[in-house]
């Protein structure tokens, strides 16, 4: 079942690369949506204090964390409230963008 999910996920990832929708065709969407996170997490995902840095974490980990916040499964202060405002597509592009940043 997990293998099947991975194959489906890979298919979706390929679909995301193809210019099928308006959002998906914008190569700059990842940085644009991620810029809503950088006020607290840093312009490249490296924060300057107690807020966790998110640069260089895997995309899967970041998606899971955001979906846990969104579903109310993960505790927090503002993140459970903010995560509910993002679409699943936006969570995916943000996770991919920060995963590609250097953790330094």
């Amino acid at each position: 079942m997990r293998g099947f999910t991975l194959i489906v996920a890979a298919g979706l990832a390929l679909a995301a690369v193809a210019p099928s929708g308006a959002q998906q065709s914008d190569p700059n969407l990842g940085r644009a949506v991620s810029a809503t996170c950088s006020n607290c997490h840093g312009a490249t995902g490296v924060s300057l204090g107690d807020v966790p840095s998110i640069a260089g974490r895997t995309k899967d980990e970041l998606v899971r964390k955001m979906q846990d916040f969104k579903a109310g499964r993960a505790p927090g202060t503002i993140m459970p409230q903010l995560a509910k405002g993002y679409t699943d597509e936006q969570i995916d592009v943000v996770a991919a963008w920060f995963a590609a940043q250097s953790a330094k």
Binding site: A32, T36, S38, C40, D50, V51, I78, A83, K84
Partner: protein, 429 residues
């Protein structure tokens, strides 16, 4: 360039287009052509962010000139801590140097005095014109002094302070509080919303009370609010006043200020009796700064600027974008520094795209996060997420998202300082 070609390019009406056509005329070129000139007026939360992000996101192809009279950025958020005495102005001050040094922003230390939207030129106080392809106004607010007639002169404004633009006024108000004898009354007048930073006045009351509780325990903080109730984080502030500052903070709604007596530090109201203060702090009503009037972009009630939320371009004047507290906000969008930073990023992405002949992102998203210090360490927040609605052509808060702290906490105090340092770096580092 031949006269004929010059006329042709002129007819195209913009060097963004000219730049791409110039590339066609000259064939392939190894150097990335400049894809336009952007002038930004105002180096606050909106303007500084826009300057950095346009340079970054255009890979240096768009020329950016920032017009700002100050050498350093002073943060309004957290400036109430300076009034309380737990921080100093230096703690909330950041140099503009990196915008030029790291990002190639041309920093012009001057004040814009007028905009000629037809000629696409910004006029400067010290003389000289700055031409632009696109102009970004992040001008902040001016006070409507007519609404407090006795404060409509420089001497009065030095005696009765607003401290609603962080800097010398913040330090001066702190000095007034320090000089006040114990047993005195600090009176804070709040204008009817909308005004810059909705929770700011209530946080200020907390910070002054925090100072009084330790240094002048017989003193009082009297909040005289033009609004019918606390406009932001109401239950959280009221709980802090009751539990942290009993007998110090008193809140009275529906106090519409009509004037002051400068000599006796007396506030006068539409309905209620006048109130004499030991230290009187008047936050006057506000509107978009005068330069927005000059540009012709003030469209809402003679006070604020309506914009297209996909690009933050004025709905009235082409090629002029407006950010921050000066805009007529969408539903649920506060006049906050964080929000201005978010306006700037949507605008920066759109301007870079438009100057490159591409369509802007049709579905921008913005967030707001606002921390208020109720003691020197304990903090409460409000946050929201705003998505573009294509049918309604505006941004709207997402139902079920956002919200308030459940209670004040030191953890959020640490997050608040993290937020401040990270967002200042996001704008200026």
């Amino acid at each position: 360039m031949s006269a004929q070609r010059r006329e042709f390019l002129k007819a195209l009406g913009g060097s963004a287009l000219s730049a791409s056509f110039a590339t066609l005329f000259t064939g392939c070129t190894t150097m990335a052509p400049s894809s336009g000139k952007v002038v930004i007026v105002g180096g606050g939360w909106g303007g500084a962010t826009a300057a950095k992000y346009i340079r970054m996101w255009s890979d240096g192809r768009v020329d950016v000139t920032l017009v700002e009279p100050e050498l350093d950025f002073v943060s309004c958020p957290l400036s109430n801590l300076v009034l309380g005495g737990s921080s100093r102005l230096a703690d909330i001050t950041v140099s503009y140097d990196n915008l030029a040094r790291r990002h190639g922003v041309r920093f012009v230390r001057d004040t814009a005095t007028a905009i000629d939207a037809d000629k696409r030129v910004v006029k400067l106080a010290r003389g000289g014109d700055l031409p632009y392809d696109r102009l970004i106004l992040s001008p902040g607010v001016d006070f409507i002094w007519d609404s407090v007639p006795s404060l409509n002169n420089a001497a009065a404004q030095e005696a009765i302070l607003h401290a609603w633009k962080a800097g010398p006024q913040t330090v001066a108000l702190r000095r007034q509080l320090e000089a006040m004898p114990d047993g005195g009354v600090f009176v804070l007048s709040i204008p009817i919303a909308p005004y810059r930073c909705p929770p700011g006045p209530y946080e200020r009351a907390c910070q002054v009370a925090w100072y009084f509780k330790r240094a002048k325990p017989k003193s009082k903080v009297l909040i005289l609010d033009g609004n019918a109730d606390v406009t932001s984080k109401g239950p959280l502030f009221k709980k802090a006043w009751a539990e942290e500052y009993p007998g110090i903070v008193e809140y009275r709604p529906n106090y519409t200020l009509t004037d002051v007596d400068v000599t006796t530090r007396t506030a006068k109201f539409e309905v209620q009796d006048s109130v004499r203060a030991s230290v009187l702090n008047v936050i006057p009503p506000q509107r978009a700064s005068a330069i927005a009037l000059s540009a012709g972009v003030v469209t809402a009630n003679g006070r604020w600027c309506d914009v297209d939320f996909v690009t933050f371009e004025s709905v009235k004047v082409k090629n002029i974008h407006v950010l921050g507290d000066a805009i007529q906000p969408a539903t649920g969008m506060p006049k906050s520094g964080h929000m201005a930073n978010q306006h700037a990023k949507v605008c920066a992405a759109a301007v870079v795209a438009l100057l490159a002949g591409q369509a802007p992102n049709p579905s921008p998203v913005l967030t707001n996060t606002c921390y208020s210090f109720v003691t020197d360490k304990d903090v409460v927040h409000v946050c929201s997420v705003h998505q573009y609605d294509k049918e309604k052509k505006t941004v709207l808060p997402v139902p079920g998202s956002g919200g308030l702290s459940s209670a004040m906490s030191e953890l959020e105090g640490r997050y608040a300082w993290n937020w401040a340092k990270t967002v200042w770096a996001d704008m200026l580092a």
